[in-house]
Amino acid sequence: MSYAYLFKYIIIGDTGVGKSCLLLQFTDKRFQPVHDLTIGVEFGARMITIDGKQIKLQIWDTAGQEAFRSITRSYYRGAAGALLVYDITRRETFNHLTTWLEDARQHSNSNMVIMLIGNKSDLDSRREVKREEGEAFAREHGLVFMETSAKTAANVEEAFINTAKEIYEKIQEGVFDINNEANGIKIGPQHSPTSPGGLAGTGGQGGAQGGGCC
């Protein structure tokens, strides 16, 4: 399958918040009720369409356990997007967000798009973190925010796709240097690597300078 762009994502957050479940729901449309501790990292991929363009998402699901923290750090540089996940039924996972964010900001490239996700929205009766608190945290730190459920699949597609949209817009604005692979973005094989302008294509996105040339 050919693609216009390839984005690399990482999923981070405390253990048990549902990172692996979010990925599985996104790639396989399945839910896994048992906690299968991630060791190190696991890889998953899926194709999405934005603005009529095929975009390949390569996603690295990291281990939330403290012992794997240094391994996780190896994945920040080189990721274009990150899903930072907490569990709305466990306040401590929300409290740890600052640490996660500091780690991410310190080790990633400055343009990395971070999406804050409050997962397990299906467990509203056991909620410990209000939706507004998540929104406030996101606003304060310049993140996009969303509540999801890996179980019911609510907002899962949106979480991954909106992150991609954000990255895509940054590319259109010329913020990302797409020729530098360390940013976690690659251009599809048949698309010219030197003229990012050409990629704006025929889609009506008026913003980008220099439309489709040929």
Binding site: G40, F43, A45, Q58, W60, I71, S74, G78
Partner: protein, 891 residues
Amino acid sequence: MEYFKSGLKSVLGAPPPGNQPSGADTVERLVDRLQSSSLLDDRRDACRALKALSRTYRLEVGTQAMDALRQVLEMDRTDCEIVGLAMDTLCNITSPETFEAEVENYGPKNKIGEQFTEIFIKQSDSTTQVLAFLEEFDFRVRWPALKLLTHLLGNRPKDIQEIILVSPLGVSKLMDLLSDSREVIRNDALLLLIQLTKGNANIQKIVAFENAFDRIFDVISQEGSADGGIVVQDCLLLMLNLLRGNISNQNFFKEGSYIQRLTPMFDLPPETDENPLSGWSPQKVCNMHCMVQVIRALVAPGGPAQATAACQRTMRACGLLQALCDILMASGVPADVLTETISAVAEVIRGNTSNQEFLASVMAPSSPPRPAIVVLLMSMVNEKQPFVLRCSVLYCFQCFLYKNEVGQTQLIQTLLPQGNEAASLTTGQLLCGGLFSLDPLSNWFSAVALSHALIDNSIQKEQLLRVLLATNIGKPPVTLMQQCVMLLQQGNKTQCKLGLLMLLCRWVSHCPPAVKAFLTIESSVAYLTALLSSQEDTDDLQETLLQSMCALLLGLCVHFNDDSVPNYTKEKLCHLIENRLGLERFQDAIGGITRHEIYSRTLKHPQPSTKDPSDLLLDHEFCRLLKILEGVVVKSVQDGSNPQEGKDPTSTLSPSDSALVSQYKELIREQDAQIHRLNQTNETLAKEKRDLETQVYELQTSISHLRDQNLVLRAAQINLTEAKELVPSVDTIDLTNVELEKYKNTVRDLENRLAECTLNLQKQERTECNSNNSEYEKLLKEKTLELEKMKKDQENLLELLTEQDSKLMQYKEKLVALGEKVNRIRRKFRRTRYRRAARIQQLKYYRRMFNSITGINFRSKMKELFIIHGIISSPFKTIFNQNYLDQSIFY
């Protein structure tokens, strides 16, 4: 200094060589210069000289210069030249290679490089420092850093992997080197990465995340793809490391469309008329071998079915399977490449219907054109073909039939009487030919191949019963099964019989009509019982297997019996077994195979593989059949022979239960042994931990000593800076006081050391027998004497210092009188300070050296500890005396 060397030598277990004072002394002087010279040029020269000596005098340089070199990496890191020289020197010291000069004294396989590696990486920031130098673009730094890391990794792979894993961007820094335009660096980086990724899934994943596959394919195409040199092979080896057994990376590889990039690499070399092998250089064969391994890593049997299937699908879709089949059918392909390729095709099609269909449709460019499968089978039953090639064809054919009902049906179909004479050679005909050929290996291959057409396919088992063979002209045709039983009874090679028995076992399992057909063949049962009762216990592997298979076949005839043959109903057969053999013997016979190592080995992997053709005895699928059916078959025979249940209340355990019990007993025994082993490990670990704790304690004490000294010195320094402008002489008095303090500290320190030594000695005395007592006492006495001597020295020094004091007073007076001399004195004064700093450095160095050496020795024998006690005191003594001397020179 000599003590150092002998200390290390005894660690290395080599005899002390003839003294080479010149080399050792030179090294000592150079280290001194490297540590104390204030001029960069001087230090560079010293470092260069050390580098030059580090091959011939590796031991001396390693023991004496390690810390000085570390210091260079730290303090002089901005000077590319000296850093490069220091790392070159460290490279030599830690080289896994044995240098010529060492062979004589330390043997050809000494572990000097490894020992020094251990010492070097003990301070983990040293390795981090080397990693950091990889970022320096200057060739003089980057290359030696890379080489040094390679040595460290080669000597201590696990440690270095861990250090790199936790150091920020550790892997990234290495990956960046793959894009270095200087080929040496790129190539060495490849080699380093191959080592680094060995057996560490986490590193493998990070390397893949860092775009390793892109980099690797870039390098491969720069280097001429499959026709390229050894660098291409290195690239492929790295790829293989990243993929083998790493499901996450395999998934990434597939998702990243890298399988597609492998395809053009398999394009055949252009054929030349004169020499068909000209396109296959030895390097190309190696590259090809690795490429095939990469493919097989992605579709290896036993991986997650879904992932394997996805890779197989991609491989067909992108033309890779086609490319592999082209190689199969091309002429002039070297036999080993062909063999490997056949095995790869096997795994690419295994269990994947579309891919199996694809292979079935491939035609060989022969005249007349034949299906590729037919051509392959022709090689399998051809004695002249290499054994490994024939094995791989069988594997390929097995994979072709695996979960392939259509393929199985088509094969059996070619054997059935169809009225229309098939003009062309068929797979079935080939296998029948093989079954009845004079070559036992062909018999075995054909029987096993045919049995795979019957797996999970009852319809074809019945169809095969219909197959008739024309024998001699004039005689009536016989069935295939009759022919098989007849061959079994003839005096054929065991290998042939085993093949036939495996076929028959597969045939009759789950198929009552086949059981019936077998039982109605004259003397079939008689043959089995005769063979089973002929020999008692046998050690011969082939005999055991034969008996085992006979017993299984007989048992299957009981278990799947529908009582349609009056002479051999289930009950009658069971009685026969009990009377002729006895249940126990029957059971022993049937389980005979499973006690052999060949059974578990064959169960592990579906590919038939043995070194020697005569060792090819068991088939993977047959072993699985045995594993699944052994229990139920034994139970059937038991039930059949004891129809009235529970007739013997004393033996509450049925034989199968007791078999189970004995299995559990075995398991418990194994676990027992394991527990024992773990306990032992635990003990040694606990001991190691205790040792390390003492070590830590010792290190802490010496650190606090150093800290004390440092404090005193810093205080002195502050005093100096404050006072020197005003009254130089007062300053000097302060200085001497400080010196005095320092010596006091040294003495205190030495006393501590001595106490430690005494303690150690006492410990040793307790643990060892008393034979060495007198020796220790002597040493202790020597130590006490030494200390006393030092104390005396100290007193002398004190006197000297008082003298100096008065002299200084005189100076002061003179200075007052001769104001213009002040400047000169100041200069002299500055020199003193510098010397003192150098001395302190040296003191620290000895401390560290002591610590690193004791570090090694705590893990080695106590005996060596003793020698180290000898080492400890001497350098301190030397410093002391030297200080003393220096002072007197100064004054």
